[in-house]
Structure formats: structure tokens, C-alpha cells
């Protein structure tokens, strides 16, 4: 938004000059509606805790109109704030209902906005303070010569360092690289997926040796959940990853990992050679 606005501002300089002083705010300056509001409050020398909604709303709407006149796309976020301002203004205009609880009457409709503005202002300032620090790689540098002794021994492994984002990103770029027909179920919908359910069961079995069917569905008891959980169990059973038990007719269904830890270890030894 900021870049776009800046671009247009360059193009429309004569147009901007013709506007009333109040409108000629720097379009490239605002990082969003909160930023614009703070600017208007400061410009009008208002107390942030006692802002004149009428003044601010008028100037805010003028700004949006200016953006529209300049054919700038007005981001939805700016419109949401406009609506909020208008709503506060209309609440201020409403006559006080005598039947209402008196303490509710005293509530200033501006409070929520003021709280957000104060909080936003803090983070904006904190951001500037942080940004003014000497940054590593820009003002501050570390030693860059590799220590010969350590380079020689580099094949010794230290702790792993990788972020979750890198993991997802690796998967995403992989999927973008391979043809679409080679994979399935890439972006599961909001609905429950069997893969998710299998993963859930697998992680549960890492923590405990036996799991009861009922505990799997207790958080979210729905028809879909029961079916998906059941299908996931059947799939795990088919893969011989779990074994299922039922104590008596209509009793609880239990399942345990098909491979105990000990036998997994022995399999692992064998397979490391196989690989």
C-alpha cells in the first residue's frame, strides 16, 4: 500500500498541491488506519485520551476520499476503521436511554478505540526504538574468518538448528516442483482429514502405550470426527502399525502400537544396513 501510494503521489503532485492544506497529507506515510489516525490526532494537537471524534472522523473520511480521487485502491482496513469511527460518532449522538443502567451510560464509546490507539502508539514507538539500534550486519560485525582448527573438524555434528518455517517451506517448494498428479491431498480443507487423524494417533502413541477410542473423539464429538477417526484406525491397522482390542461386546475399543519399542530398535539396526 505504502509503495503504491508513493508512486501515485509522485505522479499526482500537481493535483495534490491544489488540495486544501488539510488534505495534503503524505500518502506514502501511513502504514494503516491506526497510523493515519495517530497522525490526525497529532496534527490537530488533540489529547489521545480525549479525541474529538467529529474532527477526526471528518478528516479521516476526507483522506479516504482523497485516496479515491487519486484512484488509489483504498484498502479494506481503512474502510473498517472509517466504519468504526462513524459508529462511535453515532453512539455519541444517541440520546441517553433513561431506562438503562446508569453506569452503562457513562461508558464512553471512544474507549475501545482510545485503548487500541494508545497500544498501537506504544508498539509503533517501540518499533522505532528497536529499529534505531545498531544492527548486526549493518553497523555491527562479528569475526568472519573461520577458525582453521574448527574448519578441519567440521564434520563433527553439533545440535541441529532449523526452524519450523523452513520445514514447511521445504515441503511447499517441493510440491511446487513436482507434477500435480504425483501427490494427493496437498491442502486439506477445513474439514477433518484422515492424514491429520493418523498423525494425531501416532503422536498419542508416542506418549502412551494404549489409547482408548473414546478419548480420541472426546474433545470433538461429531459424526464426522467419529467416522474419520475410525477410518484412520482402520488404515493404521491395515498398515499393521496398531492392534485393536475390544474387551466385550459394545465395550471400549483400545489400541496399542503393533511394534514395541524393543523390536523397533532391532528393526532399526537391520535397516540401517539395508539402507
Amino acid at each position: 500500500m505504502a509503495v503504491e501510494a508513493h508512486y501515485h503521489r509522485e505522479e499526482n503532485l500537481p493535483l495534490l498541491d491544489g488540495f486544501h492544506e488539510q488534505y495534503s497529507v503524505h500518502l506514502d506515510k501511513f502504514d494503516g488506519p491506526m497510523d493515519l489516525l495517530l497522525h490526525l490526532i497529532k496534527k490537530n494537537e488533540l489529547d489521545i485520551c480525549d479525541i474529538s471524534i467529529a474532527v477526526i472522523t471528518r478528516q479521516y473520511l476526507e483522506y479516504i476520499k482523497l485516496m479515491k480521487d487519486l484512484n488509489l485502491e483504498v484498502a479494506g482496513d481503512f474502510l473498517v476503521m472509517a466504519a468504526t469511527l462513524l459508529q462511535i460518532k453515532s453512539r455519541q449522538l444517541l440520546p441517553i436511554d433513561v431506562d438503562e443502567e446508569p453506569e452503562e451510560d457513562e461508558v464512553d464509546p471512544r474507549n475501545e478505540l482510545v485503548r487500541r490507539l494508545l497500544e498501537y502508539q506504544q508498539y509503533k514507538e517501540a518499533g522505532m526504538v528497536i529499529g534505531a539500534r545498531a544492527l548486526l550486519g549493518r553497523e555491527v560485525f562479528t569475526r568472519s574468518a573461520p577458525e582453521p582448527m574448527l574448519t578441519a573438524a567440521q564434520n563433527v555434528e553439533g545440535p541441529l538448528e532449523v526452524s519450523l518455517f523452513e520445514l514447511v517451506d521445504a515441503f511447499r517448494s517441493l510440491l511446487q516442483r513436482i507434477p500435480a498428479e504425483s501427490f494427493h491431498d496437498v491442502a486439506p480443507g477445513d474439514s477433518l482429514s484422515i492424514v491429520d487423524c493418523i498423525n494425531e494417533i501416532l503422536s498419542l502413541l508416542q506418549e502412551q502405550d494404549t489409547v482408548q477410542f473414546d478419548t480420541l473423539i472426546q474433545d470433538e464429538y461429531s459424526r464426522e470426527r467419529v467416522i474419520v477417526t475410525f477410518l484412520a484406525l482402520l488404515e493404521l491397522c491395515r498398515l499393521k502399525l496398531i492392534r485393536i482390542f475390544q474387551g466385550n461386546d459394545h465395550g471400549s475399543i483400545w489400541f496399542v502400537p503393533a511394534v514395541t519399542t524393543d523390536s523397533t530398535d532391532s528393526t532399526e539396526v537391520v535397516t540401517l544396513h539395508e539402507l
Binding site: 488506519p33 485520551c49 562479528t142
Partner: protein, 201 residues
């Protein structure tokens, strides 16, 4: 003349390719007492501060590292390329919100900033300044974000506690005309007193 321990620690930190924590130094030098190591570390810091040379020992991201003093960056950049670029205002705002309010969801950041933050968030993730902490235990299980070790390293912060304090919030509590109490009564779900949102106070 410095003690041998002083010199050993200095050589360890000097050759490490990232900041070394006090714990790690104590592990590596298990023949020395922890207290003595701590004293030696303080001595090294003081020594470099006093001599005011080209570099100094600083504590960043929970570890010790030699770093050049900012005053000389215009000479250093003559032969070393700068890696970091200036951060945009929206990147800094978003970083500040994440740093002070973590763990935080995208929706919470956007509520505070009043704008969509997807793009900024992604770029902060790609720069490794922000990381995904997991998912929040609320309906929809949104991702929660926090700052990374790289964030502390790049901004030269010892830990999250050494972030600059948010002055304005304290000032806000002193403002009598701002009737937060009544607001809280009306909408109980908002009833997080402002000061408790500050994890570092």
C-alpha cells in the same frame, strides 16, 4: 597481565562461530568453577570497554560474542558487504508487537495494527526474525508466533527482558480520565489489565 582463565575464555569466545552462553562455557571448562568463570567474563567485558578498541565483548541472545563497535561501521563496510537492510516501519511495528506480546496470533497482530500483516509476517519468517511457536489452543487452532534467536542477535539484545520498556503504557495507567474500569465491566472478555499484557514488567 590477565589470569589464564581470562585468556582461555577469551580464546573460546573468539573462535566460536556464534555467541557462547555462560552455561556452555562452564560445560566446556568443567575444571574451573562456575563463579570464577563468571568473574572472568565480567573482567573481559570491562577490559574491552576500558581499552575502547575496534571491538568489544557483548552479551547477545543469551551468549557472549565479540562484536565491532558501531562507530567503525563506515570503515568496515569498505571491505565487508552489509547483510542487513533497513527495516520498513511496518516490519518494525510488527516485530515490536510480536516481541512484546509473544506468543501471538496473526489476528491479534492485525487487530493491534489495524491492517493485514500476512506479507510482513511471511517476510519476517523468511528472514528468520520470527518463528512459528505452534498452534493456539482455541477453535481454529491459529498459528502462534514469537521472535527468534536471530532477532536477538541482529538487534544486539541480551534477551527479551532487555527490550526497551514500553513507557506509554505506564503513563496510561496514571491517566485518570481514561475510564478503563467501566469498559472492563461491560465487556468481560476484554478484561486483561493492560499491565499484565507486558510480559517483562
Amino acid at each position: 597481565m590477565n589470569s589464564e582463565l581470562f585468556s582461555i575464555i577469551e580464546s573460546l569466545i573468539f573462535t566460536a562461530d556464534s555467541a557462547l552462553s555462560t552455561d556452555r562455557i562452564c560445560d566446556l571448562l568443567d575444571e574451573f568453577e562456575r563463579d570464577k568463570i563468571k568473574v572472568a567474563l565480567a573482567e573481559i567485558v570491562a577490559c574491552y570497554q576500558e581499552r575502547a578498541g575496534g571491538f568489544e565483548l557483548v552479551e547477545v541472545a543469551g551468549g557472549w560474542q565479540f562484536r565491532t563497535r558501531p562507530a567503525f561501521h563506515r570503515y568496515i563496510t569498505r571491505h565487508i558487504k552489509t547483510r542487513a537492510s533497513k527495516f520498513s516501519q511496518s516490519a518494525l511495528e510488527t516485530l515490536a508487537i510480536i516481541a512484546y506480546r509473544q506468543p501471538i496470533t496473526r489476528a491479534e497482530i492485525e487487530h493491534l495494527r489495524g491492517v493485514d500483516c500476512g506479507g510482513v509476517l511471511k517476510s519476517l519468517l523468511e528472514k528468520h526474525l520470527v518463528r512459528i511457536l505452534g498452534k493456539k489452543d482455541v477453535p481454529g487452532r491459529p498459528l502462534i508466533y514469537g521472535t527468534s534467536k536471530e532477532f536477538l542477535e541482529i538487534f544486539g539484545l541480551k534477551d527479551l527482558k532487555s527490550l526497551p520498556t514500553l513507557r506509554e503504557i505506564q503513563a496510561l495507567d496514571e491517566q485518570p480520565q481514561y475510564e478503563r474500569q467501566e469498559e472492563l465491566q461491560l465487556e468481560p472478555e476484554k478484561a486483561i489489565p493492560v499491565e499484565s499484557q507486558l510480559p517483562f514488567e
